[in-house]
């Protein structure tokens, strides 16, 4: 048995866990011999302000999966890391069967592996974690500056992940009816202003390159602000 979790839920809406969330979960997992799988596909390689989301949230995984920033997305490659306890049991079982019958034609493809190695070299040379820790306050302060906007309920984020939730009632946090498609409407306005972001429902997600400059982040939020204002106007005239 295993439990799988992204340290920060990505496609679910950039949801950060409450303090001590994973510690409490892992206590239960350990008690019942349930393995912990950290899905670091989004969080891995600096995204949350540490090399791994597991470090940011004190997760002690038995298995880690990672992809995306492993090659900076330039070429498809992902990896599964397993600890020695898990490995020994799998080795034992496969020795009994004669082989471990699992593997892909392109597993560890040399071109993908080389691009990933070069990516890790660049991360090391630039000081990936330090770079993120230095720039991420600009993103986090930037998103939180929208907390006062009439359309914005929650603003949140960690490291180079940020989210602003669009709500119909700022005081109660009431959501827009999904058929109103406010999130998608905002995306179109953002495109008009030269900004590509993603709407996860009505949660607008930001996950810019880790090497983005302060000036670019400020410009990004300036464009987001214009898209927000346009959306507000649309809602007012649409009522």
């Amino acid at each position: 048995m295993a439990f799988i979790a992204e340290p920060v839920m990505g496609a679910g809406g950039v949801l950060t866990p409450p303090t001590s969330y994973f510690e409490k979960i892992q206590a239960v997992l350990n008690k019942h011999d349930v393995l912990m799988i950290a899905d670091e596909v989004i969080c891995g390689f600096g995204r949350t302000g540490n090399m791994w989301g597991s470090e940011t949230y004190n997760i002690k995984p038995d298995i880690i999966t990672c992809a995306k920033a492993l090659s900076s997305g330039y070429i498809p490659i992902s990896a599964v890391l397993i600890n020695d306890t898990v490995y020994q049991l799998i080795a034992q079982q496969s020795a009994g069967l004669g082989s471990l019958g699992h593997g892909f034609t392109y597993s560890g493809h040399p071109v993908a592996a080389s691009v990933a190695l070069e990516t890790l070299d660049i991360y090391e040379e630039m000081g990936l974690v330090e770079t993120v820790q230095e720039i991420s306050p600009v993103l986090q302060n930037g998103i939180r500056a929208f907390a006062d906007h009439a359309l914005v309920g929650e603003t949140n984020g960690v490291g180079m992940l940020a989210v602003a939730e669009l709500v119909s009632n700022k005081n109660t946090g009431e959501a827009f009816p999904s058929e109103k498609r406010v999130g998608p409407h905002l995306l179109d306005r953002a495109l008009e202003h030269g900004l590509i972001v993603r709407a996860l429902g009505d949660r607008i997600a930001f996950s810019p390159p880790l090497v983005i400059s302060k000036v670019k982040i400020e410009e990004m939020f300036k464009r987001f602000g214009k898209a927000l204002d346009d959306t507000k106007k649309w809602l007012e005239t649409d009522q």
């Binding site: 295993a2 890391l81 810019p208």
Partner: protein
């Protein structure tokens, strides 16, 4: 980014949470070209391997946040998660607990679109009309992490809230191996 009309955009999402180093990095282009010339393809079957794969595995083990032992490579996050689940099932058989094979995911958790990864994913759109989830996965329906966040915000009394949020789970036909987990109130506190 520039569209086909020449209009410029800021890519606020790194594509799909991918391009940590931005776009058009020359060194990565060179690394690919060099490797295609040097050894264009090789696989890892039948006791074969090659330098880039071995080196990358060692680098990843060196970076891991906890001591890790082995690395398996695939081509996408979905495949990596499916592989992880298959290894969990393989392990269950190895230790003689073949009945304990549930993969527990979370509402709104996203792990990919292959059959097992999509099953562990907690969004209906990835299940509907695909006949998912498979019976070896279980996405905990309530309480979600959002509920937990609201509890933390409201400083609610967990003992009062727990029966309310656990009832729908416990009233379903019990999935035996999960039972002890679901009975533990610290799940609620932890956010389920």
């Amino acid at each position: 980014m520039t569209d086909d009309n020449g209009k410029d955009y800021i890519e606020g999402m790194s594509g799909l949470w991918c391009t940590a180093l931005g776009f058009g990095n020359e060194r990565l282009a060179e690394a690919a070209a060099r490797q295609i010339r040097d050894l264009s393809f090789y696989h890892g079957f039948n006791q074969k391997s090659h330098a880039p794969q071995i080196e990358l595995a060692e680098r990843l083990l060196g970076l891991a946040p906890v001591p890790m032992s082995k690395v398996f490579f695939a081509n996408s996050g979905s495949e990596a998660n499916d592989t992880a689940f298959k290894l969990v099932w393989y392990r269950s058989n190895a230790i003689g607990t073949p009945e304990k094979k549930k993969i527990i995911g979370r509402v709104k958790g996203y792990h990919g679109v292959t059959i097992a990864a999509a099953s562990a994913t907690g969004t209906p759109i990835n299940h509907q009309a695909f006949d998912l989830p498979i019976d070896r996965s279980c996405t905990l329906t309530v309480p979600t992490m959002l509920v937990a966040q609201n509890l933390v915000k409201a400083k609610s009394n967990i003992q009062r809230v727990w029966p309310k949020i656990s009832t729908p789970l416990l009233s379903r036909k019990a999935r035996t191996p999960l039972w002890p987990l679901l009975q533990n109130p610290s799940w609620a506190l932890a956010g389920f």
